[in-house]
């Protein structure tokens, strides 16, 4: 009788611990998802802005066809990768960031383009989107780190393994001077 009660108590405590850990993991996974959607919104926004930018710049920059084509190519690549893995997206988005920053360097030689109101508005939106991506990225990586810690650490790793929780990928943009937004002047 007493042995039975002790066993029952142990089972109940264990079950409660598993439930608590499981719920904690779900909470973290949702937080990661939510943080990722913040980045995703901004990435999509950037994809939407770029065709307009290329269209506006085309008329002024006949001699920079290659630069413009590069941006379009990088943008299409990034748009295709959207919805895929975080690591893959980070890679192609880095390419896009790079293409954009070399574009904004070239823009310095075209004062007419720099005076175009439409272009200025697009430039502001792109700068801001770039900043938002970088601020949202930090929040996402923090959340991903908390989830991964919980998945790897004892004893929550047992529960995570039992229910097949997967570690979150970090979103790292690997560009030289990556924290710089495209060079912009107003």
């Amino acid at each position: 009788m007493i042995v039975g009660l002790v066993v029952l108590a142990v089972v109940v405590v264990l079950a409660l611990a598993v439930i608590g850990t499981y719920n904690g993991l779900v909470q973290l996974r949702n937080a990661v998802k939510n943080a990722w959607s913040q980045i995703d919104v901004q990435l999509k926004r950037r994809h939407d802005l770029i065709p307009n930018l290329v269209e506006t710049a085309k008329g002024y920059m006949q001699h920079e066809r290659a630069t413009l084509e590069n941006i379009t190519k990088a943008r299409n690549l990034a748009a295709q990768a959207s919805g895929g893995g975080v690591g893959e997206q980070a890679r192609v988005e880095s390419g896009l960031s790079q293409a954009l920053s070399s574009f904004f360097v070239v823009v310095e030689n075209y004062p007419d383009l720099k005076a175009n109101q439409n272009f200025l508005a697009l430039q502001e939106e792109l700068t801001s989107t770039e900043n938002k991506i970088s601020f949202a990225r930090q929040a996402y990586n923090d959340q991903a780190m908390s989830l991964n810690n919980k998945i790897q650490m004892f004893p929550s790793n047992i529960v995570a393994g039992l229910f097949g929780f997967k570690q979150a990928e970090f979103f790292e943009i690997e560009v030289a001077g990556e924290r710089e937004a495209p060079k912009v002047s107003f």
Binding site: E124, T127, S128, N131, K132, A139, R179, A181, S185, F186
Partner: protein, 406 residues
């Protein structure tokens, strides 16, 4: 972030208790002094005044402040840059909702935040600020205001302000009442009731307290406000990872001599720069809501290659030369180091006169001005209350219809 809010809450409770104790003590003593055994009446009166003022501030604080300053809410299309910068800082600070954005029709450079919780937050900037800062500088200012929201300084300072206001009011009423009654009545009390000794003692204590309590409460209030300013600066640096932006903004704001038309004593702690007249001269004194601007700039400039609360605290200790830590320990415990963003090449200058004019035009548009163009090419604006149908062009003298839309 959570730790920070909790530590702030604990502090705000301690503060409220401290100043509230001062207020209730004052009420009790005055009650005892005026009516024998009347301590609890005084207590109740002081408590009631405080409760009413608190409720008013709690439910209407933000609106009153904005109404007084004449702010107009804007959307993304009115001023994309300002709106975007606020949104960027909202993401960086992980606020649950986008704060409302207001522009105040004033050419003095200043900005403030309101809203007792992050859900109900609003930031407002003056047209002067918008017209004179570049993007990075604006970001620094907005980050500072956003930090006030995240740290719940708005709630903290408005509650403290209400208590301070109540103490000042109660003391004033007592001292004036005493002056007018000339103390004659209390002497009559003494003779008729015999046990006047205690009454006299109470009267002296009440008198001293009524003079000292407002001063003491003010000193506590200002000290806390200055600390919140340093914390908001540190927080802004962590949010933007770019101390130079805020430093340059403060430099420009400090060099600006225009004074805000609606500077308000009660709301002063929420501004980026003390909005009150003559504040600059007494900036180092104990009775200022803000630390001196030059000191804030020097602290920001001495932050090295990494930003964090600890880094800011070290810079602060070096510049201010005082050993005490301003950062709550819980903030430092949660600290993350991040690299300072590099200054952009060919750092964008602010747009000069044109940017200033655009900011002025935007404010006039928001305030219902009519924009007219004369055939001679001159463009000018009419205020919404312009009474006539037509106006003479100031350059060529032609008559221009005042309401082209109608």
């Amino acid at each position: 972030m959570w730790e920070q809010i909790r530590s702030n809450k604990r502090k705000s409770i301690a503060l409220v208790v401290l100043i509230a104790a001062l207020l209730l003590g004052l009420g009790y003593t005055i009650g005892e002094a005026v009516v024998p055994q009347g301590g609890f009446i005084g207590l109740a009166v002081a408590g009631a005044v405080w409760a009413v003022m608190s409720l008013m501030a709690y439910f209407q604080g933000g609106n009153i402040l904005l109404a007084v300053s004449g702010g107009k809410e804007i959307t993304h299309d009115d001023h994309p840059q300002l709106f975007n910068v606020v949104e960027e800082m909202k993401i960086a600070a992980a606020l649950p909702r986008m704060p409302k954005v207001y522009i105040v029709n004033d050419m003095a450079m200043n900005a403030f935040a309101t809203g007792r919780s992050p859900d109900k937050a609003a930031v407002a900037v003056t047209a002067g600020l918008l017209g004179k800062l570049n993007r990075d500088e604006l970001q620094g200012v907005i980050a500072h205001e956003m930090s006030h929201i995240v740290n719940r300084d708005v709630l903290l300072m408005s509650m403290a302000g209400v208590l301070l206001g109540t103490i000042v009011m109660v003391s004033e009423i007592f001292l004036r009442g005493l002056w007018h009654s000339g103390g004659g009545r209390s002497r009559r009390y003494q003779s008729s009731r015999g046990g006047g000794q205690a009454q006299v003692v109470m009267m002296v204590v009440a008198l001293v307290l009524a003079i000292l309590a407002p001063i003491l409460a003010k000193l506590i209030y200002f000290a806390i406000s200055r600390r919140r300013e340093y914390l908001a600066d540190a927080n802004a640096v962590v949010l933007t990872r770019y101390p130079e932006g805020l430093a340059r903004a403060l430099e420009r704001i400090g060099g600006d001599s225009a004074i805000l038309a609606h500077g308000n004593r009660a709301t002063a702690p929420m501004y980026i720069k003390n909005p009150l007249k003559g504040a600059a001269r007494h900036a180092t004194s104990l009775t200022s809501t803000h630390p001196p601007i030059e000191e804030r700039i020097r602290i920001l400039r001495s932050i090295g290659g990494n930003v964090s609360y600890a880094e800011y605290r070290n810079a602060w200790a070096e510049i201010a030369g005082k050993g005490r830590a301003h950062m709550p320990a819980s903030v430092l415990a949660q600290d993350n180091e991040a690299e300072v963003r590099k200054t952009r090449e060919g750092a964008p200058e602010s747009g000069g006169r044109r940017q200033l004019r655009d900011a002025g035009d935007l404010v006039r548009k928001l305030n219902g001005f009519t924009f007219l163009a004369c055939a001679c090419g001159l463009r000018f604006k009419l205020p919404p209350d312009y009474p006539h149908d037509a106006v003479k062009c100031p350059r060529c003298g032609r008559r221009v219809a005042a309401n082209p839309g109608k």
